[in-house]
């Protein structure tokens, strides 16, 4: 098939399309829905597990920063599937992540050695991974409407956005000291979610799947 024939074919098969909303708008919609979901999930967990403790002092700032990370990371994910979108979109989540980590550092509590046991927080990992699955799924479905030329980046930003929000839910449900074990369990769960999403990204987001003749 020569190029002119291809042009005729593409013109013949042209159908109207609904242009995507801007990445900013899509991120705002997703972030709002995600925060509502986290609130609802936390309420359900509280009903099951016996109450929510609103973090005060040390862990309040990281939770607020986490919402910022989720918002900017989702914006970066939506921007990554729009060809030619300014790369400044990827600067803001990096800044937010740095601020988020800084709030944890300032709120760090060293636990006396005698009390350092291998505190197991599998329930937090489950909350972050299982509870975050619907959010990841929704985000991936929204991203598939775009052009995922760099699917792994889109997936990484998505996983970060969801994981930091689910971390908030896990911490609200069962507050724990901000120590290295928090970093191990919650940070480990976040990294695991990111790695799994990045690995699955080409299969989930390959835009070739949507090639239409």
């Amino acid at each position: 098939m020569n190029t002119q024939e291809l042009i005729e074919e593409l013109t013949r098969s042209l159908a109207p399309v609904r242009p995507l909303w801007s990445p900013r708008k899509r991120a705002a919609v997703w972030s709002l829905a995600a925060i509502l979901y986290v609130i609802c999930l936390t309420v359900v967990l509280a009903a099951v597990g016996g109450g929510v403790q609103v973090a005060t002092g040390g862990l309040f700032a990281p939770h607020v920063a986490a919402i910022g990370v989720a918002s900017f990371a989702s914006y970066a994910a939506f921007a990554s599937v729009v060809p030619g979108h300014p790369r400044s979109a990827f600067f803001w989540p990096l800044l937010a992540i740095v601020a988020w980590i800084a709030t944890y550092i300032f709120a760090y509590e060293s636990v006396p050695a005698t009390e350092v046991a291998v505190r197991q927080e599998w329930h937090c990992v489950v909350i972050m991974v299982v509870g975050g699955a619907p959010l990841i799924g929704a985000l991936m479905l929204m991203l598939r409407r775009g052009a995922a030329f760099a699917p792994r980046w889109a997936a990484a930003w998505s996983a970060i956005a969801v994981s930091v929000l689910m971390n908030v839910s896990a911490c609200l449900w069962q507050p724990h000291p901000n120590d290295h074990l928090l970093l191990l369990w919650h940070g480990g769960a976040l990294v695991t979610v990111v790695v799994v999403c990045v690995a699955a990204a080409p299969a989930l987001l390959a835009y070739h799947r949507r090639l239409q003749s």
């Binding site: 042009i7 159908a15 030619g84 090639l211």
Partner: protein, 190 residues
Amino acid sequence: MESGNVTNERLGSLMQAAQGGDARAYRELLELVAPRVRRVVLRVRGFASPEDREDLVQEVLLSLHSVRATYDPSRPFMPWLTAIVRNRLADGARRYARTGGREVLVDDWEVTFSDLAANYEAEELGDAQALREAVRNLPQGQRRAIELLKLEGLSLEEGARVLGSNVGALKVATHRAMAALRKALKSQRS
């Protein structure tokens, strides 16, 4: 990719019209875009054969078609197109790196085997226009299999991913398509 302001605005408005389903605007857009893309491909892939370069141009047009919903009319058109071109060139380079070093391209085999019956396939599929017509008349699944594997040069795994199918089903579809093409061309000749 060069772009005057007027050209950028004109292309952007043509793209916006095309998003609304305006076929005439879309044809004009593609016909304006194709030579620009061809020049870029020639600049970046001048070492490639004319056929390979034209394949890349067509891949860019196919990609533009499939992701046209992502174009934001409030933003300039050329950066959007440039990103698509860059991505397709990178994909093309990756594909060449995967297969180019292991393939030897053979243009023409005048004689494949001494027994004429063994040249059945080459003889059957010799008429390009008739072949194109026969491909167009194939059932959609078989046509897509031929387009992806034979025209776009995807591997079986890539083709299966595009179709949301598996390698086995794609092989079957391709085999059936080839059989249907042979039958169609044979009946045309007779």
